[in-house]
């Protein structure tokens, strides 16, 4: 008995000694010269199967070949990405962990107050893709033919049209813009993420909602749902039939981008290197462009580090204008 206790004591002392002399045990052992020389980890802020996840995984596969190291992709979901973003903005700035998210989460969370930080809490690596566009959708048999009719109907009968959103997300911001700038009077209902919102619509729990085109295109093809307009500033190149919401309501433009971020303090040379790799894939890789066109219905598109920061900054200003209504 006594022997056991004394052994435990010795152990404690050893531990304290270790604690005393060890510094940063996460091993900052690689400079930017030979980056990358060990596997990378991408943290995706949204669930598997969604468009953010899809684009992140696609990019990660391409990067594996391009950079020659394995890339592990982990989903850390919750609160429209806020959980992952909050956790990883300062963690592991060693150039081997990156965060993949979308701007509706990154900037939207800041505007709605879910997070008290925005893109500048990170080192942006690249805005690397445009979403196929959030579309305002209604059931195929509903009486509205365009966005204008929907808004007018809501004004005529305030609160009678149920609008599904994911509170705090880009879709939510869009609904607020509809209300503030467009005068609509919807009954706003929390309806979960993209796939859940579409199901909600189909199940008759809401009368209208917004979802990415890539999620709804099958339902449109199948005749269950019709898209009234897209929130992109310009209709996507490959689906020109859907008008832009901004034609009806100028303020309503929401370009959702996919963003790759590095934790604050990551070596800027590593950031540039990753950006170079991404740009190379986007501009030159055949397989990538085929995939992206098929899924996003957009041509591949990515920005350099400085352009990314510029674009993010502009979006942020636009969102923050509405922030008092969003909280």
């Amino acid at each position: 008995m006594k022997k056991l206790i004394s052994m435990l004591l010795v152990l404690c002392i050893l531990m304290l000694l270790f604690a005393g002399c060890s510094g940063d045990s996460s091993g900052n052992d690689s400079g930017s010269e030979d980056w990358p020389n060990k596997p990378l980890t991408f943290i995706v802020t949204h669930g598997a199967g969604g468009d953010t996840d899809y684009n992140a995984r696609l990019m990660s596969r391409m990067l594996e070949d391009e950079l020659g190291v394995a890339v592990a992709v982990n989903n850390v979901t919750g609160s429209n990405g806020a959980i992952a973003l909050t956790q990883y903005k300062d963690e592991n700035p060693d150039g081997y962990t990156f965060v993949f998210t979308n701007t509706a989460a990154l900037t939207g969370n800041e505007a709605t107050g879910i997070s008290d930080f925005g893109f500048d809490a990170f080192e942006p690596v690249s805005v690397y893709g445009r979403q196929s566009g959030e579309n305002i959708i209604v059931p195929a048999d509903s009486p509205y033919e365009n966005l204008d009719q929907l808004i007018e109907a809501s004004k005529a009968n305030p609160g009678s049209i149920r609008f599904g959103v994911s509170t705090g997300g880009g879709v939510y911001i869009a609904s607020v813009i509809l209300e503030q700038a467009g005068g609509s009077k919807f009954q706003v209902i929390e309806s979960g993420d993209a796939a859940e919102r579409v199901t909600s619509l189909l199940g008759g729990h809401v009368d209208a909602t917004i979802a990415p085109y890539s999620t709804v295109k099958e339902y449109i093809e199948n005749g269950d749902v019709k898209a009234l307009s897209t929130l992109l500033e310009e209709p996507p190149t490959l689906i020109p039939d859907i008008p832009s919401a901004s034609e009806t309501l100028e303020e309503l433009k929401l370009n959702t981008y996919y963003v790759a971020l590095a934790p604050k303090g990551t070596d800027s040379e590593i950031v540039e290197k990753l950006n170079d790799a991404i740009l190379k894939i986007v501009n030159e890789n055949q397989e990538y462009s085929e995939e992206v066109e098929r899924y996003n219905l957009q041509a591949p598109w990515a920005l350099s580090v400085s352009d990314s920061i510029e674009e993010l900054s502009q979006q942020r200003d636009r969102f923050m204008r509405y922030s008092e209504f969003l909280r």
């Binding site: 669930g47 598997a48 199967g49 996840d53 899809y54 995984r57 596969r61 394995a70 592990a72 992709v73 982990n74 989903n75 850390v76 919750g78 609160s79 429209n80 806020a82 959980i83 909050t86 956790q87 879910i114 609160g159 009678s160 149920r162 509170t167 705090g168 009954q187 706003v188 209902i189 929390e190 309806s191 796939a195 859940e196 199901t199 909600s200 189909l202 199940g203 008759g204 729990h205 999620t215 099958e218 339902y219 093809e221 199948n222 269950d224 098929r294």
Partner: protein, 500 residues
Amino acid sequence: MILEGFASVFLDPVVLALIAVAVAIGIIFGSIPGLTATMAIVMFLPVTYRMTPIQGISTLVALYIGGISGGLVSAILLNIPGTPSSVATCFDGRPMAENGEAGKALGTAVVFSFVGSLVGIALLMFISPMLASIAIKFGAYEYTALAVMALSLVVALTGRDMTKGFVSAILGAMLATVGLAPIDSKARYTFGLVDLTAGFKLLVLLIGLFAITEIIKYAESVRKEKKLQISNQNTEIKGFGFSFKEFIGQLPNSIRSALLGVGIGILPGIGGAISGTVAYTVAKNTSKYPEKFGTGIMDGVVASESANNGTIGGAMIPLLSLGIPGDAATAMLLGGLMVHNVAPGPLIFDKSGSIVYAIFFAMILASLAMLVFELFGMKQIIKVLKIPSNYLLPVIVVLTVVGAIGDSNRIFDVWGVLLFGLMGYGMIKAGIPTIPMILGFILGPMFESNVRKMSQLMNTDSLINHPIAIVFYIITVLVVILSVRGNIKEAKMYEKMKTL
């Protein structure tokens, strides 16, 4: 299309081999507490990228089936659920092992897992569009009612001491509120700590509450003469461990439980833990000998394992037809599907029909493989009982640490395990049951987010429009009344016995 699907699975030796290996790996992951089916899928997902779609998806599905099933092993042998789905298997599984019937328990669990899987796959194959269209009708009203109904089962489960059962459930619900709130994501009980902002994970709670408490219970018994060790048990198993007559006798129970499992699997966000517990409670309440439940009878194990395997088939239904994953494991499967360009949704049969059928056949094959492996493995695995607990339990703890930290990479989760272990110990000393806490932890948030959505809808909608919800509420009231009556009767009998 059907033939194509059949051929691509059964006639491709690579696929057959992959399914076999994946099921085996899944079973191993499932049977070790702390490692789950989800983890197995996450780890092997990248490996499947380079395979053909059918190879890759078959592998993932096989991992899923093996993983969920494997939980029964440690539930029966160690009283620690290997995965959350096997929580209810502990109720009768462990007592059976203590009574010297470990072989029977294992055989029962394995065979009826298989039955459950088949029921789930059959429903998936033949009527999933219809079931999916019903699932779509479930909105806030229905989910709220469902949560209430499931929570009412706590009453049914807790027997004599309903007060403590409810305490446990509410504590579980309170633990679940730590983190960001549903809908508006406001921080709750996080004290500014980033780690708490993400909240506690079910797995961490499960490991702490069940695995750590097992080792603590053993530690208590080291010097005392309490016979907690069952390593001197008979470890021979004849055949399946139970008779054909018993098999037939349990079939109604099994099929009913499997159907319940499928039903719960179809509704996203609920999961195998609830389906196992619900099926168990239903079996107990509809049986001729409810007082025997918990002492070690087949029925309990049959109910739990048929249900949690039925949930697998059930969870695949919204996954394939709507693109909505039912739980974390199917969420990863969704990722796997997308990577291979299989887009779930209403057009999946049109666009990827042969792959869908291939998935069905892969699932059948994986279930068969699971049955075979587990039946053969049973005879060896039961020898685990012979390993002295003082060596076995520490190793289990280390494995659970791997499980806790391997997924999220946070030391915080391991501290969580210790914290919940401490709490579990306290609960045992106070006589507070641990199972309702799991129910409260899962159902509390479900209740909250749906009741709040309901409040958003109440302007334009009301309960009258939701017959399904009304039915659930009626069932709840009935369950409560019957259980309370039963509990009072039991308590009176107990009091009488004490004074004899």
